[in-house]
């Protein structure tokens, strides 16, 4: 069992907060004691960067996530620009679906009440690092940092949109989990105002998403121009503390049960649309995504008696799963199987009796 799989990040932040310089009178003494042998600008820069070995160690501490994604991921720095869309100066644009994810870290300014900028930057940096690594484990690309937040893409030319939606929902659920449980406990312990994330996710058809090169020369990037990218940013603002809001397309494409989505409503309780043109009867819905319920539906996730989540040992779970599949196969071949309302093979005789047949081709 892998408990506290974000522990390395939490420890890193705890270490930063405990040993970091505090705001106010002690700022100068702390800073100069930390960096007395270096000029201050160099000292600050060095303290904010992690060595590749340290970053790899953090990344590999999240290896239990492989039990969710189903594949082992090796550490490598992934490019910011999505590699499937290398639009050059000669090429105007390309249409292709993508899942846009905006993650904003809220209330991080509260850290400045207690800590100096170096400590705050180190803390935010580690939170972002946890988010980035989680995204990488789920095959996503971090396109851009904006302020304390992130903008990421999921999907690409060799990934189906259904898989990309699943990856985006899983990655953002685990990021929210990190913020709401492991990190919240640490901040409570340190007496820091609750820092939280708000996440928006959306996608659309290829025809509605344009990949193009924005800017010029060195000051440019390949990015998307789409109502759905804009809506992802907008929906992030609609999310609750440590919440996720998704566009209607995400809900429709995902295999997730309807019970895990809830309407976004205004203060009067009316459904609040992400986008609407009433004259054309065009309304685009947005949904609160109940990620805590969703995580419980994922394979290999367990909870201890205190309600803390952990990931089960992959090999043991896999062996048990295969044994159970074999039992179901035997049941089917014995002619004693039934099928339940939700498609499970059962022995309950009030379910639908499976009829004998042979597969043919």
């Amino acid at each position: 069992m892998n408990r506290e799989f974000y522990k390395s990040y939490v420890d890193q932040i705890r270490n930063t907060l405990t040993n970091g310089a505090r705001r106010g009178n002690d700022l100068s003494t702390k800073l100069y004691s930390d960096f007395s042998n270096q000029d201050s600008s160099r000292g600050i820069r060095n303290s904010l960067s992690l060595s590749k070995a340290e970053d790899t160690r953090l990344f590999e501490s999240l290896a239990p996530l492989s039990t969710i994604t189903g594949k082992k991921v090796n550490y490598h720095l992934r490019p910011g620009a999505h590699p499937d869309f290398p639009i050059t100066d000669d090429q105007d644009f390309e249409n292709h679906y993508i899942i846009s994810v905006f993650i904003d870290v809220k209330r991080s300014t509260g850290l400045f009440k207690k800590y100096n900028p170096v400590t705050v930057a180190n803390t935010i940096n580690t939170i972002q690092r946890a988010a980035v690594h989680t995204i990488w484990y789920h095959d996503g690309y971090v396109q851009r940092y904006h302020g304390d937040g992130l903008f990421a893409y999921f999907g690409g030319k060799s990934i189906s949109i259904e898989t990309a939606v699943k990856q985006a929902l899983s990655a953002t659920s685990f990021i929210s989990y990190f913020m709401k449980s492991d990190l919240k406990n640490l901040f409570n312990e340190q007496g820091i105002e609750n820092i939280n994330t708000r996440i928006g996710i959306d996608t659309g058809d290829a025809k509605d998403i344009l990949w193009y090169k924005a800017g010029m020369g060195e000051c440019s990037e390949v990015t998307t121009c789409s109502i759905h990218t804009s809506l992802a940013a907008h929906m992030q603002g609609e999310a609750k503390s440590n919440g996720i809001v998704v566009g209607d397309n995400i809900k429709k494409i995902s295999s997730v049960s309807n019970e895990i989505f809830d309407y976004v409503r205004d203060d009067a309780g009316r459904v609040s649309y992400a986008f609407e043109i009433p004259d054309e009867s065009l309304y685009y819905n947005q949904w609160h995504f109940e990620w805590e319920k969703y995580i419980k539906t994922l394979p290999n996730v367990g909870y201890d008696s205190s309600g803390n989540m952990f990931l089960l040992d992959h090999e043991a779970v896999e062996a048990e799963r295969i044994a159970s599949l074999r039992n179901k196969a035997l049941l089917i071949n014995s002619g004693s199987a039934f099928t339940s309302r939700d498609g499970n093979i059962s022995i309950v005789d009030s379910d639908i009796k499976n009829q004998p047949h042979r597969f043919h081709f």
């Binding site: 189903g70 189906s160 259904e162 898989t163 699943k166 295999s255 394979p299 896999e318 799963r321 295969i322 159970s324 599949l325 074999r326 179901k328 196969a329 089917i332 071949n333 199987a337 039934f338 099928t339 309302r341 939700d342 498609g343 499970n344 093979i345 639908i352 009796k353 499976n354 009829q355 004998p356 047949h357 042979r358 597969f359 043919h360 081709f361």
Partner: protein, 153 residues
């Protein structure tokens, strides 16, 4: 006149099958569409039978009186004889010589449990070295024998 009556009866039968499917399963949503000169019952939904690793999006297309065409829309799986799947990702769940399909056969009792079984056997196939553990017919048919998804009459 005769053709008109048959069309009407087929539509009633499609509605009957649709109601039975919706009454007995929670994971499928069904609609009846015009296709070709007739109507087709189309049911789609996501399913992950217990102990399976993946969510499967399935589509069942039923032309009255014919065995339904059942397709795995997601994940994208390469069709092959070994897994009883055609190249268009539709499945061959039934050996015609075992039972002649007729209008009387109810999809909710036959096709849907068989798709659930197919998923179980496919997930086993993925982990057992490529062996199909379900019961199989003694002979093969060809790509041209796929089940219909539009009304030829």
């Amino acid at each position: 006149m005769l053709v008109k009556n048959r069309t009407y009866n087929k539509f009633a039968l499609l509605c009957y099958q649709k109601n039975l499917i919706e009454k007995n399963y929670d994971f499928l949503s069904c609609r009846i569409e015009n296709r070709g000169i007739g109507k087709v019952l189309i049911c789609t939904g996501w399913i992950r039978p217990e102990d399976c690793k993946e969510d499967y999006k399935i589509m069942i297309e039923y032309v009255s009186g014919h065995e339904p065409r059942t397709t795995i829309l997601y994940p994208i799986i390469d069709g092959s004889v070994k897994i009883h799947m055609y190249k268009d990702h539709s499945l061959c769940l039934h050996y015609p010589k075992d039972m002649k399909w007729s209008e009387q056969i109810k999809i909710f009792q036959y096709t849907i449990p068989w798709v659930c079984e197919w998923i179980i056997f496919y997930e086993l196939f993925l982990v057992n070295g490529g062996k199909w553990e379900g019961r199989e017919s003694p002979s093969h048919i060809t790509e041209n024998d796929k089940n219909l998804n539009s009304d030829p009459d």
